[in-house]
């Protein structure tokens, strides 16, 4: 009798483990941060890409309803794919498109812009990658929608596509 109880408890326990592991198989083991967030931007200081002047986040995020901050680098291959979408996005007048040049060589970055066009209203430098950590970004490319209260309301990991472009246009309408 006692044995039967132990046996059935063990069987139940292992069945539970089986179900959990079975479900776990379909989960991804790669970190995916949340994309819908409501987080106030941490203040940061940066330098302007072209002029090299010091600029603070308070000076960057002024005078518009919405901002789209795009992290890019000339060495990043998916950024090339994404670039035409950004050019398209720059036609949207209700947003300010801000580029964050991530851990890049300025010469290469300028060459990149000359070749593919410069869609950004303004580019700031993040030569050490530390501003990206303030934004809680994990890599390039990554795009954030920021509202006038300096709150991040949405983020896109990896290259922007047609769908995410529509989403941005919808949110910032």
């Amino acid at each position: 009798m006692k044995n039967k109880i132990i046996l059935s408890v063990l069987v139940l326990f292992f069945t539970f483990c089986f179900i959990v592991l079975y479900k776990g198989l379909n989960n991804s083991n790669i970190y995916v941060p949340e994309t819908k967030i409501e987080k106030t931007l941490i203040k940061f200081n940066s330098t302007d890409f072209y002029s090299g002047n010091k600029i603070s986040s308070d000076q960057i995020f002024v005078g518009s309803e919405y901002y789209v901050l795009n992290i890019w680098a000339s060495w990043c291959v998916p950024c090339r794919q994404e670039h035409p979408k950004l050019i398209k996005l720059s036609k949207n007048k209700s947003i300010k498109l801000i580029g964050l040049n991530y851990r890049d060589n300025p010469k290469n970055a300028k060459k990149f812009l000359n070749e593919f066009g410069d869609p950004y209203f303004m580019i700031i430098k993040d030569s050490k990658g530390m501003i990206s950590v303030d934004l809680a970004a994990i890599g390039v490319p990554e795009t954030f929608i920021i509202n006038k209260d300096k709150k991040i309301i949405k983020r896109f990991l990896g290259s922007l596509n047609e769908k995410s472009l529509n989403e941005i246009n919808l949110i910032t309408k």
């Binding site: 970190y31 530390m130 950590v133 303030d134 809680a136 994990i138």
Partner: protein
Amino acid sequence: MKLSAFLLIILIIFNFTNLNSEENNDKIKNKISKNIRCLICQGQSVYDSESDFAVSIKLIIDKKLNEGLNENEIYDFLKKQYGEWITYDPEFNKKTFILWILPILLFFIGGAIILRKFIVQKL
């Protein structure tokens, strides 16, 4: 007697992190970066990786240390930014208490079984 000694030992080791705060900057930096997961790598710590993400985190750790933050404040900052996945040292909370308690519980259960079933009580 023995049990209380165990508990004491566990308590002492939990306070260990504070003892190390007197060590020099480099050691702390390495220690922190060993306990932080490189999010874009496969199972590597920030210390072990030279990826862009890891290098940025190392710089941030440096900067925060210079700003006067201590080890735990840096973990807290990174956890706030990236979530608990980033630290290799899970904190004790309602999500993780089973993780911390279960092995110790099993240890005591095992001890109780051994005492009751096998050992002769009187010498």
